[in-house]
């Protein structure tokens, strides 16, 4: 629908500033989701919103060529194929992280952990942070994030391509 020519300079400038902020916020939401509002899903949707802004203001061609460095050469290749791989990866990550619990349980805890059991690993005496917590749920949440990003971008790209 939109082309490169009919957006104003102001819009472009705003987008240039806003998009990185959105992306940063998304990352923050993803990482802190376990303890504060956020999580993989919201972060994913926010990320997509950033892409959508670029898409609306700069056009699809720009998004593909300049940002993703792919030429749109069809349905299963090109950017859409890239998005497809993203959500595939996300799904695989989420499911595997669940499966990993079983494996860890079998190997280290005597078969006690069932599918998608989560835990938190506290690492003490880390410089600067003193203590960081690594929830295994983070991997699952990352999976969610990638699924959402990949899937939503696929939908937008396919709908927008028409």
């Amino acid at each position: 629908m939109s082309t490169d020519t009919d957006t104003t300079v102001i819009a472009r400038t705003v987008v240039r500033v806003v998009v990185p902020v959105i992306l940063l916020t998304a990352v923050a939401l993803l990482l802190q989701g376990h303890n504060l509002p956020g999580g993989g899903f919201i972060a994913g949707v926010l990320t997509v919103t950033a892409f959508a802004l670029v898409y609306i203001v700069f056009g699809r061609e720009f998004l593909q060529r300049e940002l993703l460095h792919v030429d749109d050469d069809g349905f299963l290749g090109g950017s859409i194929g890239e998005y497809g791989r993203t959500f595939t990866f996300g799904l695989a990550l989420a499911a595997s992280s669940g499966l990993a619990a079983i494996v860890v349980g079998e190997l280290f805890a005597g078969g006690r952990y069932e599918f998608i059991t989560q835990g938190v690993w506290f690492v003490y005496h880390v410089p600067v942070y003193h203590e960081i917590e690594i929830p295994t749920a983070l991997f699952f949440d990352l999976g969610v994030y990638f699924v959402v990003v990949g899937a939503l971008l696929t939908i937008l790209a396919v709908v927008g391509r028409e």
Partner: protein, 527 residues
Amino acid sequence: MTDLVVAPLLVALFTAIATLPLRSAQRVQQAVSVFGGVLYLVAVAALVRAVRVDADGYLVYELSNWEAPFGITLVADDLSVLMLGLAAVVSLAALVFSVRGIPEVGQRISYHPLYHLMVVGITGSFLTADVFNLFVWFEVMLMSSYVLVVFYSGPDETRAALHYAFLNLLGSAVMLLAIGGLYATTGTLNMADMAEYLATVPASQTTPVLGLSALLFAVFALKAGIVPFQFWVPDAYRAAPAPVAAMLAGVVKKVGVYAIVRLLFTVFSVAALPPGLFGENATFLAFYGPVLLVMAIGSVVVGGLGAVGREDLDGLLAYSSIGQVGFIVLPLAVAASAVPGAGAEIPREGLVTLGITAALVYSVNHGLAKSLLFFVSGALSRTLGTVRFDALGGVSERNPTLAGSFFVGALALIGIPPLSGFFGKLLVFDVGAQAGSTVVLAVALAGAILTIAYFTLAWSRGFWGPPSDAVAGASVDRSFVLVAAVLAVSIVVLGVGFGPLYDLSYAGAQAATETQGYVDAVLGGSQ
């Protein structure tokens, strides 16, 4: 060993994930997909064995290590593994059929992942003991089935999918409403917990639950395509590619049936009604008995009548599915009315189990036979480009094996001995006879006669008669014939050696009615 409970679901899920990036390597993708189907069958077989032989009838799996009722619990019992077994057999057959039965382009775009994700949804629905989780797996199953229905993306397909998807979207909203209401009134989402709560709390405190359960029931009936929720069925089955139609009629429909049996007989059968219309000591089933009966009659009539006049094989089979689900619901209606306290004059516990057994046997038979018939229809459609009767004729001369398989499937649905379908009919009739219900017997007889009427019509118009030009010049892919023949043989074998299927179904029916066993198995760990 308990990991076996989640194994079928994971096999299907990882197969779907594995087929996603393999789209550029067609053969590899097909191989992985079929291998996944085989693995799924193996996983289900191992689970069946584990539940029936090693465990005491129940295998409980608490996901994320959170005990019931707090986390989500999967339960494999005799009822769910029976349905899983049906799903595994039909889905593998459909998968093998798909390799040649779906255009290559379609397979590459998304067919295999979607197919396995549908199986994921089906598996989750059969196993979960959590109503909201049931909603989630329903959505997984439905989402993929929407796409698979509209797979060919033509005018009829898009319209059929539109009706199918939109009606089910409404259904999903209703289901959420019901789940929310149930949570608000019982304070739990876990079916076992809910059953226990309903059994212990006086009826006066849970009055809204009956209406909420009815909402939920309506959604299941929508999935099962029971009148008056059958509207989407004929067009969707006709539009779907043959292996998908086989899965929809053979398995997805049975998910609705399963959910009805599970919810009504395991959970809500223990809920007491306040004294009123159905007298003292009535349970929810007193309400559902007549409801199921009316819906069964409607299904038998609409499906049977609808099928008689079709001009194409797909349409006939689609309407037939509505009629046949009536035969599944009919004994359930008797069973619901026969539950002690359901207002029956003489409650007969044996009749409850028998009724559910009949429904399960009929479900399995319908799953196998109807998918076989859809495969034959699909083989013809893929070879000839049409399954209109006026373009068919003489298939039995050209391809006796394919036609013979169709014949076996049709006879199984008519209920000719010694095929598996005969015992389905026998049990349905027996339930009617034992209940002394003239209405049930009359409906069953009318439905059976309609079934004869439309299948003889399909046979004489499509498979006998002079071969049409199209038929005379066509040759059917061997893999189609093989799939159909294997299913036909299995229908014969299951009939001649009916004992094991009966045992499985009977055990399933017992599992469905043994609320206490279910509750103990699920909540045992936390109490």
